[in-house]
């Protein structure tokens, strides 16, 4: 193994244009959503929480968590460290998005249900998603050897993906209150066009933010492993 010799552009700090663009996009969405989108008549201004809450929820579950699960399966198959790093990064960025969902959800819930928290299927699933990702991060932190850490977390990632539908189903059976996703119902496109534009631009901006954060987090994982092997070699 060659240890030294190659020059180290990695040691120099770098700009991250993608992250910059994402931050600007999110800022623009904030402006549009808060200042230039009409207030929903029945729910009042609090309805605007939808734009950030629903985007974060969708991205956390169907992008971050799904990416973690897929990379976990692929890792066990291909044993490529890159896949493990993607899974790790997706989990951590997903945790951030899930945290936003859990913080904004009750604020919206208080205004439409009159309660901060309800044990409905989607809210509870999100809460458990959060617990699972926290457990995933704890597990990663508790395993020293890199190969073992990757295998263990891949196993947990896959099992967690199998669990979420069960939790959703059980809680759904328990009771459900959550407003049905009005956007995705083909029969009644009940959201006015202006709000739809805001919603989809919010969704795109947060997706961009997710991609930028994922990339930044992946870079950190790569750097960390590199530093670890260098330190190992340096004794």
């Amino acid at each position: 193994m060659t240890t030294a010799s190659e020059p180290l552009p990695l040691a120099r700090p770098r700009r991250d244009p993608l992250l910059g663009v994402a931050i600007v996009a999110v800022a623009l969405v904030y402006v549009r959503a808060l200042a230039f989108t009409p207030i929903e008549a029945r729910q009042g201004p609090a309805q605007k929480i939808l734009y950030i809450h629903a985007s974060a929820a969708f991205i956390a579950l169907y992008v971050a968590f799904a990416l973690m699960a897929v990379c976990s399966i692929l890792y066990l198959w291909l044993k490529d460290e890159k896949l493990d790093r993607v899974a790790e990064s997706a989990a951590e960025v997903g945790l951030t998005f899930t945290t936003v969902v859990l913080l904004t959800g009750p604020l919206w819930g208080k205004t439409i249900w009159g309660a901060w928290w309800t044990w409905d299927a989607r809210l509870t699933s999100t809460l458990f998603l959060w617990f699972l990702i926290v457990a995933y991060s704890l597990l990663r932190g508790a395993v020293e050897e890199r190969g073992r850490r990757a295998r263990y977390s891949a196993v947990l990632g896959i099992l967690a993906a199998l669990l979420v539908p069960f939790i959703h189903l059980s809680v759904y059976l328990f009771r459900t209150l959550h407003p049905m996703p009005i956007l995705l119902k083909p029969s009644a496109p009940s959201m006015p066009a202006e709000m739809q534009v805001t919603f989809f631009s919010a969704f795109s901006a947060f997706l961009l933010l997710f991609a930028a954060l994922l990339r930044a987090r992946y870079r950190i994982a790569t750097l960390r492993d590199l530093v670890a092997s260098r330190e190992e070699h340096a004794g």
């Binding site: 040691a11 009042g44 936003v100 604020l107 919206w108 530093v227």
Partner: protein, 55 residues
């Protein structure tokens, strides 16, 4: 009748911005620390020897 709950919207948008912002800052800090460590690992090793030190 439209309820006046603008405070909730403001709170939610602020919280979200804080969480995302804090995460971005933490990423930046972690990345900078790692790069510094990497730089430290490299710089003293280079003039010292032409054979890399092993474990």
């Amino acid at each position: 009748m439209t309820p006046d709950n603008a405070g909730f919207a403001t709170a939610a948008y602020t919280l979200a911005a804080l969480v995302y912002g804090a995460y971005i800052v933490s990423l930046k800090v972690r990345e900078r620390r790692l790069r510094e460590r990497l730089a430290r690992l490299e710089s003293p090793a280079r003039p010292a020897s032409n054979r890399p030190a092993g474990a």
